[in-house]
Amino acid sequence: MSAPTADRAPSWYEASARARLAALLDRASFTEFLGPAARETSPHLPLFDLPRAFDDGIVVGRGTLDDRPVLAAAQEGRFMGGAFGEVHAAKLTGLLRAAAELRPAAVLILFDTGGVRLQEANAGETAISEIMRAIVEVRRAGVPVVGLVGGRAGAYGGGGLIAGTCARLVVSEQGRIAVSGPEVIETNHGVEEFDSKDRALVWRTMGGKHRALTGGADAYAADTAEAFRAAALRLIDRAPAFDLETMRAEQARLEARLERHGTAGDAPDIWSALGVPESGRVSALGDDAFAELLASSGDSHDAR
């Protein structure tokens, strides 16, 4: 029986935002902008008697990836669910605007968010639009924006929208990408439609394997910084042009996908339709076996 060894690489899912950045980028290459000592904290949270974080739950800065200059942002999913508050979002917007000018080899966004922070919803919602707009500008400048999704909070709400504007996405099995979260769907459509406590259901409809198989993400990574780094490096060089042709191709792909799978009752039905053998076993597959499966089937695309 093949057993995991006791000494393994640290888990991306478990790591803090800072630890993820440190392990993702070239050793000691990261320089933070507006670090914790600057104490740029949320002006809203004290009104609700809630604790603040010195970095408002996001780390932004510059570093190198395989000696190429990159700008990077990492959300801390454990602070308020990684949610976008005013300062948090402004740090990301600022980083993206800088990227449009500085034109690094890539911008990396390490998502870990449940969406907009309720306590600062107006500022947060506005900021989501600003961030998406800024990503468009960066991509128009020819800089690939790559999203990495594998944290505790996934990429939900506005985070899911922003992920949709990235040129490329890497996801791990633990990662989830969606706009409405499981609890929101259950609240609005009833537990019969979606049981948010059925975690196997949540993962097979929003999780990394499903997103990778159906073209919702462009690369699948094991739950380690090393795997995310390798995937990010691969994707940077394969980012599509940001032009009308790309948009039309993506629109066509999504329409075809909806037509083909729109009536499917559950995710494994879609996987079967994509030619995945024994689709009921997909959730149980290890990372290597799944990567092989993905290479031989799945809805690969090059149109985002």
Binding site: S16, R18, G35, P36, A37, P46, D49, L50, P51, R52, A53, F54, D55, E76, R78, F79
Partner: protein, 104 residues
Amino acid sequence: MDRLQFSHETPRALGGGRDQAILGVVASGNLEVLMERVLEPDRCEIEITTPLGGYDAVWEAVIADFVERAAPGGVRISINDGGAQPDTVMLRLLQAARMMEGQS
């Protein structure tokens, strides 16, 4: 939010070459500790923001034990607490001190 401040004299400066360290996360039962080497080497100042009121004596005891154990001279310590238990506070403080003692 409760705000607590403590000031201690220390027998020596905290070793190591780092000017700053941040550790931990503001989450339920957790906390973040920011250490900055900005004070005279025989001083240590601690500021704590916590959502749980009424534990001043516990904080005072934890901080006093930490200062005795680590002698963090020259360091200003800022804590955003998420309702951590004292052992977690002590652990984060020791971890942050060790980070400061590392290479710059």
